[in-house]
C-alpha cells in the first residue's frame, strides 16, 4: 500500500515515519510531476494552512488532488490538513479543497499559549493522545459526516466517507492507532 504525503510545508516527515512503521510505503508530493506516481491514500499534514493552500495552487497540485479526493481517494487531514478539507471556514474567507461538509474555525483556541494536550476517546479507535497546537476545531458538520470525537464539547475528529479530518496532531508522539485506522480505511476503499 502506498500513501502520498503532501510535503509543501509542515510536519510531513512525522506522518511518513508513522506510516512506514505500520508497513506502508510513502512518498512526498512537492510538485505536479509527483502526481504521476500511483498512490492509494493521501495525507495532508499539520503546518500552516495559508502556506499549503497557496502552494497547492501555485504548484498546480490543487485541481488534480481535489479531483482525486472527490472521486473517493482516501484522505487524512490533520490540523492544517483538516482546514484544507473543510467546505467552510467560519473565520476566514478562503476555501481550499472544500470536499468535506464541515465548518471549521481556524486558531480556535487562540495563540500558542492556548495550545494544549488531552487524552480522549475516538469512536472506533479508543483513547488516544491529542496534541493541539494553535489548533482549529469543527463547528458544524453536514448530514453525511460522522463526529468521531469531541473535547470540551468541541468536535475534533470527523469522517465523511473516505475523508478523515482531525484537528489535533496524531503525527506527534508515538501512538499509531489513528494512522492504523486510516490505513484500514484505505484497505477498505
Amino acid at each position: 500500500m502506498t500513501i502520498a504525503v503532501l510535503a509543501v510545508q509542515g510536519a510531513f516527515i512525522e506522518h511518513e515515519k508513522m506510516l512506514q512503521e505500520l508497513g506502508a510505503d510513502t512518498f512526498e508530493i512537492r510538485q505536479k510531476s509527483d502526481l504521476d506516481r500511483h498512490f492509494d491514500g493521501l495525507v495532508l499534514p499539520g503546518g500552516e494552512s495559508t502556506v499549503m493552500g497557496k502552494l497547492l495552487r501555485e504548484l498546480d497540485l490543487y485541481e488534480p488532488l481535489k479531483e482525486k479526493i472527490k472521486q473517493g481517494l482516501p484522505v487524512f487531514g490533520t490540523c492544517a490538513g483538516l482546514i484544507l478539507l473543510a467546505k467552510e471556514l467560519s473565520n476566514d474567507e478562503k476555501r481550499h479543497f472544500g470536499t468535506m461538509d464541515i465548518s471549521v474555525k481556524r486558531n480556535a483556541y487562540g495563540r500558542q499559549l492556548g495550545s494544549f494536550y488531552a487524552e480522549e476517546t475516538i469512536e472506533g479507535i479508543g483513547i488516544v493522545p491529542m496534541t493541539f497546537i494553535r489548533a482549529p476545531y469543527i463547528e458544524k458538520v453536514g448530514d453525511n459526516v460522522s463526529v468521531l470525537a469531541t473535547v470540551d464539547g468541541n468536535i475534533v475528529a470527523a469522517r465523511q466517507g473516505n475523508q478523515l479530518g482531525i484537528s489535533f496532531h496524531p503525527e506527534l508522539g508515538s501512538d499509531l492507532k489513528i494512522h492504523q485506522y486510516f490505513l484500514d480505511m484505505v484497505k477498505g476503499a
Binding site: 510535503a7 510545508q9 516527515i13 510538485q31 499539520g46 497557496k54 492544517a80 494544549f116 488531552a118
Partner: protein, 292 residues
Amino acid sequence: MANKSRYDLNKELAQMLKGGVIMDVTTPEQARIAEEAGACAVMALERIPADIRAAGGVSRMSDPKMIKGIQEAVSIPVMAKCRIGHFVEAQILEAIEIDYIDESEVLSPADDKYHIDKTKFKVPFVCGAKDLGEALRRINEGASMIRTKGEPGTGDVVQAVTHMRKMNSEIRRIVSMREDELFDVAKELQVPYELVQYVHENEKLPVVNFAAGGVATPADAALMMQLGAEGVFVGSGIFKSGDPKKRAQAIVKAVTNYTDAKMIAELSEDLGEAMVGINPHEIEILMAERGK
C-alpha cells in the same frame, strides 16, 4: 486531564513551521504581504537588521502596540525579538501573547554574561547559534527552536553557511564517538551529558533548526535547506529588495522544492534588485559574536 509539558508543546509548534519561511516585517501592511506570499510565520520588529546596522546606537524590543497591530493583521504565528538576557522584555512579549520570542543577537545585548532562563516562560523561545555548543547551551536554558546566527542585515549568506556546516559537522563527530567519550564532550561544550547523548543517538538537535542571517535569494534559501536547515528565516532580504512580494513568493517555493534546480532557476528570474549586500569583513559590528 493528562499532562504534557509546555516545553513539548512549544517544540512541537516549531515542528509545524518546518519547510517554511519566516519573514521579518515592520508594519501590518508588510505582514499581510508576507502572509499572502506564503510566510509560515512573521517576525515583528521596528527596524529590519540592515537598518539597525545603518542606524547604530542601542537597539531594543519593539513597541508592543506595533507588535499587536501585526498580530491583528495576520492569522499565522507572530514572533518578536527581545534583547539577549532582557527577561523583562520577554515577560512583556509573553504578556501580549506572542507565539514565539527570539532572544536575538540582532538587538543590543542587555546582559553580557547571562541569557534568559527560558524555562521560566510559557511561550516558546528561538535562539541563534553558530556552533553545536551554543545551540545546546540555549536548549539547556529552555530554547525550543534554534536558528543559525549568520550575520544579520548583510545580505551575505557566508556566515549562515559556516554556522550550519559547523553545527552539522560537530553533530556527525558526536554520532561517531564511543559512548564513554561523550562525557568529555559534555565538558568541552559546557552542556549536560543528556543533551550530548541525545545528539549521539538521534543524529540531530533535540529541537528544530532553521537557517538565518544573510539569506537574500531563492538560491540562498535552497542552499541552506540542502545543507540541512529545516526552514529559513529571511530578515532584511525581502523588504530591502526591489520587489518584496515576488521575491518572498520565490523564496517560499524554493524552500519547498529546494533540490529542483530547474524550478529554482525559473524562480530566480526577474526578481528585480536584491538587497545591497555588505561583506562581513567590511562591517564594524559582528552580531554573531554577541551571546555565546
